[in-house]
Symmetry: C2
Subunit: 342 residues, 2 copies
């Protein structure tokens, strides 16, 4: 593969000059520049990014770690990140950690070895200590998903507890009493938050939180299906199920149907995320919406504030985005209203 020296030779100039046109430096005469460009074309010269990164100590690359590429949530966030990265002339490396902390660590060392200029960690499973280690390499990073009071780092997050509270509160308002929860992976902090919002709503309604009505899912459709099956085999079935994400809620609806029951008349179902699919299942899913694409945008902007050196090192930002309840059909809102007014 042709290198800068080959180009220099062919164009009859020095490597420095070639390097200058490569970097669009102003101090090159148009004539020589043309000659160099021509030589590059002829030789199919493609600069070696490794060598360049080595010399510059900068790779114009950021990395994005997402827990699960199959959950539509993350690709959408990723798009937000890519939008701003591309605009800034950066490439983004997408890494799918599959909610596996070991995989996450592996990717992290790989990315440090690659000397990426920055990192965005979505719903990371890493501990604060792990995160602080990244600091030693002077690689700026931004977190999304999990609020960490104690960590000096930029974070973009949603108020998961409040979102869950909204959903469960709605369920209560419609009139359900026996409400179950299919939680997300226990290792994820978000899952705890959602659980706490669930409990808070119940307690406010003077209802006791029953352990049998809380089952753990895996954040995937299957987990929702399985969890629901367990709940439906309880001697006293729940009247409503709040799943920690839409994927599981969709699995829940499927399970309810598979049991020959109906949503919402037999069992109501609510979710969290408002993925595109949630408005396409039957019945349309009542869920909690949060600005996912925007989270990606904001996270990326925060990151570039650091990369570009604009951000004051001490002022870390923790940006909270508010969730919103999307009332659709899966919780039987209308049916109940009708009952009430009759």
């Amino acid at each position: 593969m042709a290198n800068i020296r080959d180009v220099a030779k062919k164009a009859g100039v020095s490597v420095a000059t070639v390097s200058r046109v490569l970097n669009r430096a102003s101090n090159v005469s148009p004539k020589t520049a043309d000659a160099v460009l021509a030589a590059m074309q002829e030789l199919h010269f493609t600069p070696n990014g490794l060598a360049r990164g080595l010399a510059l100590n900068r790779t114009r690359t950021i990395a994005l770690l997402i827990p699960n590429i199959v959950n539509p949530l993350y690709p959408e966030m990723a798009k937000g990140v890519e939008d701003v990265a591309h605009q800034k002339g950066y490439n983004v490396l997408l890494c799918n950690t599959e909610e596996d902390i070991a995989k996450e660590r592996d990717y992290l060392t790989m990315l440090i070895e690659r000397r990426v200029d920055g990192l965005i960690l979505m719903s990371t499973l890493l501990t604060n200590d792990n995160l602080l280690q990244i600091r030693e390499y002077n690689i700026p990073f931004v977190l999304t998903g999990r609020y960490r009071q104690d960590l000096e780092a930029d974070i973009v997050y949603t108020d998961y507890a409040y979102g869950s509270y909204l959903a469960v509160h709605h369920l209560l308002e419609v009139g359900y009493q026996r409400i179950a929860h299919i939680s997300g992976s226990a290792i994820q902090w978000e899952s705890q938050e959602k659980l706490s919002g669930f409990k808070k709503a119940l307690r406010e309604a003077q209802l006791t939180v029953e352990a049998k009505y809380i089952v753990e899912g895996d954040n995937e459709i299957e987990g929702g299906y399985l969890g629901t099956m367990r709940l439906l085999h309880l001697s006293e079935k729940p009247q409503a199920i709040f799943a920690a994400n839409d994927l599981m809620a969709i699995g829940a609806i499927d399970a309810v149907k598979a049991q020959g029951l109906r949503v919402p008349s037999d069992v109501a179902v609510a979710g969290f995320d408002d993925i595109r699919m949630s408005a396409l299942v039957e019945p349309k899913l009542t869920t909690v919406s949060h600005p996912v694409h925007k989270m990606g945008l904001i996270a990326a902007r925060l990151l570039f504030d650091h990369i570009d050196g604009g951000a004051g090192e001490d002022a870390t930002q923790k940006i909270l985005l508010q969730p919103k309840l999307m009332v659709r059909k899966s919780c039987g809102h209308e049916n109940r209203l009708r009952e009430i007014f009759n």
Copy 2:
């Protein structure tokens, strides 16, 4: 960030020795090795992958270009690729081209600059000429999705035309006559294939292919929705719609419902891909299944055959995988059978 020289100094050895333990060379005394390892730990040494890649002319990285991360098909293929890459100790860079040929080219040059060791291009929009240029850089690549008789390259593909034929044939068998098609993006080769399978089935049934019954979609839910709306506003509505992928089929079902009509009794719908969601919409989607994860696996294996130098350069492989019809509810199979036997 500590470098190899720092480690050498701290351990009281030469950089060559450090490099040796870094590469697990056998000719280092256990004693010195331990000392070096200790020094590495203390200094939080992380080898510079750029420098290493520069010296070795090898990055242990392959790249995967996918057209649309939001279509669940591709993440699943990606998983197949990652499975074998990780096992071989390679990292994979995921690039989302959004069915944009310009973006694809950008990624490609970026990846060449990064000196990746290999490429997997999924349903690429690049021309054969474009592809041949990659050859000049001696970067092995494998294609999926599109069969190219004329290109000397490894390809893993599905018989899209046959799959479509199967779906439409089924529709005909159930008894529909006015069958419409929502095609994929016209720039994609797969779309042409699927269209041809559609036409073939109709012709075989002595039906004329009517232009008004063929609308172009965008491979996304929205495209299916919009296309269906147009079809439903025709003076003579189609009895069945075959969408070029499940995402559009799901959009089609949504549109039919939005018009106050029912699937399949008013309009039948069939799709292609058999994504997880297709079994969860109401009614469950009749669709064409193909082994997506397997495609990823096979593509990766073919690529590594080249990277590891095992593959004979002349014997390019074109691996064809067969699609399969999944009959579910959205085409009214059962209803028709009942009619027939009454």
